[in-house]
Amino acid sequence: MSKISFATVWLDGCSGCHMSFLDIDQRLIELAEKVDVVYSPLVDHKEFPLAVDVTLVEGAVSSDEDREKIINIRQKTKTLVSLGDCALTANVPSMRNPFLVKDVLDRAYMENVTINRQIPREGVPRLLPYSRPVHEVVSVDVFIPGCPPPADAIYFALCELLEGRMPDLTGKTRFGA
């Protein structure tokens, strides 16, 4: 049996969901026997492959780069999994949403800064007007809430997916967990 191709991607989030994924600990070895990690901030591949079976997304869609990435990934992924509250609800990144991007940038880079006051524009992606949950931008197949989702919940969800079932996470994790 060929291994299932597996990717993880990190958009606007704190990487906590990836840390929680690593907290699966020794079960990662069992997992590694079943899946082939083809793209992830945790490994070295630079390009997202053309066809991936399962992709975990951490983080909200906040910049034009995030959006291009997720649209590309959606096209190439069979089962897209929103991992954690930032991907599900835009969570902490969304706290800027009631305000204009300009005001947010001013507050961060001008008002509260004493030296080198300038808004970075070169080499950084542009912010979208709103930081949005992944499913508002592309369709998502599986949702794993939590900030971060507990390692057990992530492991359970992956096992279910590997068995070809849709995981029911009721009682295993929740928003903000």
Binding site: D64, L100, V101, K102, L105, R126, L127, L128, P129
Partner: protein, 549 residues
């Protein structure tokens, strides 16, 4: 007041009318007042005086004659001439023409279907009597029904009469009036109340305003009959503060009726006593809902509460309360006077009597009309309304306001009655009827109503509070060209959910304008979404804005 005294007043008043050879009626309802109907009245009186014809010519202010778009209106008897758009400067000429050739340039033909196709019951006195004089009302059989009920009928017989007439609530839902009265009459407890709902919040409707301005005594009489029937001794009229003229005329009417002993203690020397107080609304559409209206009279935020218990059992201050709207009460005197059979002979099998509509929007003759139930929509718009102006084409007619729907031309032959309209996803409503031509975008119309519902939602229950805002945002998104085709199905799902889960009628009907336009004008939605175009060319479709950093 005894019946004899009443008939005497009527006779004297009729006699005094007969003394005049000419009678001039000047509309002084809000529509004509806004085009200075009051100045025209003064000018005519002045001219009559100067011409020394006071003895032979009566000139009085009356209520609404209906054809508001041609105001100010002046009607002259016995010549049978209707003048429209009369200016102060025309007064002299009009007075001079009495008994001679009418002033041709001002004449409005009265053989228009606008007048001939109508059937007046509620509006029988509108435009005929002076709303500020009780004698004039009495001369036109006013308070006869009340006296008859008090002296010749038992409360049960009154209720039976209303029941047999088949009268249904004119406020929108069409609940059988006789049944409601009967429930309240059986209610236990010390006090009972009768409330007249004159909180006509539906944008595009002005029937109640017009009735109150043109024939306020009729409503008082209807309420008094109802109070006698159900056993109440205190009544309230809850009227919008936005209707200052109606309020003034109501208060005048109440004072006059009290002075004549037609309201107050021991009416007609019977044991029946009934007071009426006016309570002002304050700009909240939701107060048209019974329980919200009661909360408002109690001095609270106008938030509806779950029913049951219905107000008929536990209403104002926990007492059995009868709530009917203005037009419902205005039908009652005619039913008592002419009999239930007479009333039941008008209209259709399940919708009896007439209905007053406020015809407005893109139609030639705008104004107030009263038609028998069951008349086809087409006849109202194209005959009575005179069709669409500016050589444009009819697109839709909106009935029932924010709780109703838009009916397209395919269904123009639908008879206007409670059941047929609700089958089309609209409602009879209180009687607003807004005609739209091809220059109106139906998505925008739906958005307009949803914005209304969003700002009028009381905010108590979640589906209505958040749902109306979400639906509004969706419609805005569609208009902005930011929606995808799948959004339409989702929109419909949200609408269905808000309809089924909201606490009161406002939320339960708020999605109707969206659902009905989705049903009949889906292509306009699709055009907005797929081609980013407005079929009617009414909406600005802004360029998509991606980033605003």
């Amino acid at each position: 007041m005894t019946p004899e005294e009443l008939y005497q007043i009527a006779e004297e008043e009729q006699e005094s009318l007969k003394r005049f050879h000419f009678r001039m009626f000047v509309c002084t309802a809000a529509g004509c007042l806004s085009s200075h109907g009051d100045s025209v009245l003064d000018a005519l009186k002045k001219e009559i005086k100067e011409a020394g014809r006071e003895e032979e010519c009566l000139c009085k202010g009356v209520g609404c004659m209906g054809l508001c778009s041609e105001g100010p209106l002046v009607f002259v008897e016995p010549d049978g001439v209707l003048y429209g758009k009369v200016k102060v400067e025309d007064a002299k000429e009009i007075v001079e023409s009495l008994g001679k050739e009418p002033v041709a340039r001002l004449v409005c033909p009265i053989d228009l279907p606008f007048f001939t196709r109508q059937k007046k019951v509620v509006l029988e006195n509108s435009g005929v009597i002076d709303p500020e004089r009780i004698e004039d009302y009495i001369a036109h059989s006013g308070y006869e029904a009340l006296v008859q009920a008090l002296t010749e009928m038992t409360p049960a017989e009154v209720i039976d009469g209303v029941f047999k007439s088949g009268l249904r609530g004119r406020g929108g839902a069409g609940y059988p009036t006789g049944l409601k009265w009967s429930t309240v009459s059986k209610g236990v407890g010390g006090a009972k109340y009768v409330i007249c709902n004159a909180d006509e919040g539906d944008p595009g409707a002005f029937m109640d305003r017009s009735v109150l301005e043109s024939d306020p005594h009729r409503v008082l009489e209807g309420m008094a009959i109802a109070a006698y029937a159900v056993g109440a001794s205190q009544g309230y009229i809850y009227v919008r503060a936005e209707y200052p003229l109606a309020i003034k005329r109501l208060q005048t009417a109440i004072r006059q009726a009290e002075r004549c002993g037609l309201l107050g203690n021991h009416i007609c020397n019977t044991t029946f006593s009934f007071q009426i107080n006016v309570r002002l609304g304050a700009g909240a559409f939701v107060c048209g809902e019974e329980t919200a209206l009661i909360a408002s009279i109690e001095g609270k935020r106008g938030q509806p509460r779950p029913r049951p218990p219905y107000p008929a059992e536990e209403g104002l201050w926990g007492c059995p309360t009868l709530i009917n709207n203005v037009e419902t009460f205005a039908n009652v005197p005619a039913i008592i006077r002419n009999g239930a059979e007479w009333f039941a002979a008008i209209g259709t099998e399940k919708s009896k009597g007439t209905k007053v509509f406020a015809l407005a929007g893109r139609v030639k003759h705008t104004g107030l009309i009263e038609v028998p139930m069951g008349i086809p929509l087409r006849d109202i718009i194209f005959e009575i309304g005179g069709g669409i102006p500016d050589e444009r084409n009819f697109k839709a007619v909106q009935t029932g306001g924010p709780s109703g729907g838009c009916i397209p031309k395919e269904h123009l032959d639908v008879p206007v009655d409670y059941d047929s309209l609700s089958q089309l996803g609209s409602i009879m409503g209180s009687g607003g009827m807004i005609v739209m031509d091809e220059s109106s975008c139906m998505v925008d119309v739906a958005r307009f109503f949803m914005e209304f519902c969003m700002t009028e939602s009381c905010g108590k229950c979640v589906p209505c509070r958040v749902g109306t805002a979400q639906i509004h945002d969706f419609l805005q998104k569609i208009i902005n060209g930011d929606a995808v085709p799948d959004d339409l199905e989702f929109l419909k799902k949200i609408c269905d959910m808000v309809k089924e889960t909201s606490l009161c009628g406002l939320g339960q009907t708020a999605p109707n304008p969206v659902l009905s336009t989705l049903r009949f004008f889906r292509d306009e939605y699709v055009n907005h979404i797929v081609n980013k175009e407005c079929t009617a060319g009414a909406c600005k479709v802004p360029a998509k804005q991606e980033v605003h950093s």
